[in-house]
Symmetry: none
Subunit: 212 residues, 4 copies
Amino acid sequence: MGTVKTKRMPRAVREQQMLDAAVRTFGQRGYMAASMDEIAELAGVSKPLVYLYLNSKEDLFAACIRREAGALTEAVRAGVDRELPADRQLWDGLRAFFTYTAEHPDGWSVLHIQARTHGERFASEVAAMREDIVAFVTQLIVAAAREAHRDPDLGEGEVAGLAEALVGAAESLAAWANATPGVTARQAAATLMNFAWAGLGSLMEGRPWSPP
Amino acid sequence: MGTVKTKRMPRAVREQQMLDAAVRTFGQRGYMAASMDEIAELAGVSKPLVYLYLNSKEDLFAACIRREAGALTEAVRAGVDRELPADRQLWDGLRAFFTYTAEHPDGWSVLHIQARTHGERFASEVAAMREDIVAFVTQLIVAAAREAHRDPDLGEGEVAGLAEALVGAAESLAAWANATPGVTARQAAATLMNFAWAGLGSLMEGRPWSPP
Amino acid sequence: MGTVKTKRMPRAVREQQMLDAAVRTFGQRGYMAASMDEIAELAGVSKPLVYLYLNSKEDLFAACIRREAGALTEAVRAGVDRELPADRQLWDGLRAFFTYTAEHPDGWSVLHIQARTHGERFASEVAAMREDIVAFVTQLIVAAAREAHRDPDLGEGEVAGLAEALVGAAESLAAWANATPGVTARQAAATLMNFAWAGLGSLMEGRPWSPP
Amino acid sequence: MGTVKTKRMPRAVREQQMLDAAVRTFGQRGYMAASMDEIAELAGVSKPLVYLYLNSKEDLFAACIRREAGALTEAVRAGVDRELPADRQLWDGLRAFFTYTAEHPDGWSVLHIQARTHGERFASEVAAMREDIVAFVTQLIVAAAREAHRDPDLGEGEVAGLAEALVGAAESLAAWANATPGVTARQAAATLMNFAWAGLGSLMEGRPWSPP
DNA sequence: CATGAATGAGTTTTCATTCAT
DNA sequence: CATGAATGAAAACTCATTCAT
């Protein structure tokens, strides 16, 4: 499955091959356990070439994160039509998200797990992407309230907590769906929509659960 | 800051000191980056003693996982009274969970992050614990339906998905609460109850969201 | 000729063996070309032990410099009786110096050549030692003038330049004597005394050479 | 700061640019620490071209030594008029020498330090140059004796030692003068003439210092 | 029981050097 | 001629692990 070893390719192509190999290795082994030797071999090049193009293990990892974060963001963005109703947007976004994470489990692992556990430099790059997504979901919640002609009795902090919980639930479900054979992206999205949209609806109708 | 160095303690005590040091180190540095040197020093013992008692880095890590998983499970179990109504049980369990993760961030990091990224052996040990918890939540959902005299139109798979989503959301919120100053365990639990219980209620009243 | 490989020695002894090996290797190959592998092998230990005791190549080199500078200084000091007349002191000091450099060519190379060409950190350590020696020689020149009941028409700067030239000449002669078979320490010292003492005498008698 | 990159220059010119870059790099970084990459970049050419013209790092270094040794020799030769009295010749030669070393510190470093510490091949090339100079100084000493109508009671070995000491002192003073701001070539030369010529004079007048 | 002494195997990284175009 | 693409070999350094005392 490793990239076929061909000689003398343009730099841009080789760089992508290296990033492919790196994402796969980092995703499966983890940042620390991944060795530059393994990455180079999987990419079908010698180690010095990896260093020539990507500088260091850290830089290589950062490049992986940037590429994968961009790709995931782009996939979700492309799946959503901002003209449609809020629930439809959320549904489409979730499907795009679960589809992408299912098709790129290593990239998702790099973003979700590896990047968060190996230094501020990496964590902050992912945090930025995540904030984009949380902001998007927050907008949808507010839009949903408006569409339902409700004035949600929710403070800003509460909406943020909800968006955070929704995104967190999505992240967890992605891991679960990846690990559970037979669970499709569509099913994962439906489960979450059921759970979340109904809950939001109830909240907006003024029936929150309150602690005893 | 390490345990004070005292001579000749019973083996069980020494082992706990070692596990304390190991959990702290694994939690903060990650499994790969943690060095046996650092752990031994933090525990106030010599390295060979660590090997004598715990065998290897792998075994030491496994011991950490077992201890921490047990402690977390126990904390949640102790916080819940199985005689109370389902929503109260969930509320109490969530509070116990968020309290524990806030007070033992390194242990939680070991379970939630480290154990899942370093080989099947560790992942499966945590998965077992997690399944216990998901099973507990599943029971609560079913119990809630029964209490409400509803026949939930939910298949087993759907309930499982919901429980999974709930647990996943809790895990995400734990990380979020730990990282966000000013968010208490109680607040995290309230946010999630609001989100989840209302959603479950709507579902049971037969108003699920359905895909377009 | 390498140190015989014996097992389990006290740290202090091993450290000296390592320094011996390092001085020899640095002296013969130069700082950059010397490899830690070679040093460890010559010392009869494994590389990790070298790092355990001496930390890094830089620290190891610095330790060599410190040890060798101390030994050279001590050898010269031990060879001189500060109660004797100035010329006798200079003669004795030079003999001790040439003897030492002849017997420890690698140590001398480390101090004279290697330390000066690999970063301020090392250069300054040798510079400190050299300044000690230049100061000593300066004292002797002044003492010589006093003994001769002369008031040397020499400014401080000029005396410094002379001391510098004398020390420089000694350093060069050391290399020359080491490289020229059949030149003894005594001969090297005699050549320099002839050259220097007579010159100083002339200067003090007020017969300097003056530029055209 | 590197040579401006221009296309299609005659080989001889390109070679000089490469040697300029190499001398500078070797002089400042040292032989081992200098990288062919840096040299090629500083010369404004691609690495393969350096190899095409100069063959290898060793050959490149040797070419530097040859060029710099020739230039230094030539500078001294050009500064001296062989018709003038011996002391004047020495004075002029020293001034030329100190001037050259001050103006070409990297070249001087290559000759004085680098070449001597990286293998017999390079050392011997510098040694040859140095012997030329020592021979020249030896001639001057003999000529000085003749001019003074003295029959120096000095054996050949002694004269050689004196010349060696003088040259060595000059080399040391060159380093000292380069490192000490405010010391001009003229001052360095004056210091050494004072020291040396007076000493020689005394010797020839039959007042050598003799060991106790 | 406890530890100072020791290492094999691996890590990231760099460098002189060569082709194919 | 000139260069972008590529690498074999080795460097400094680290770490989990084990004896001998």
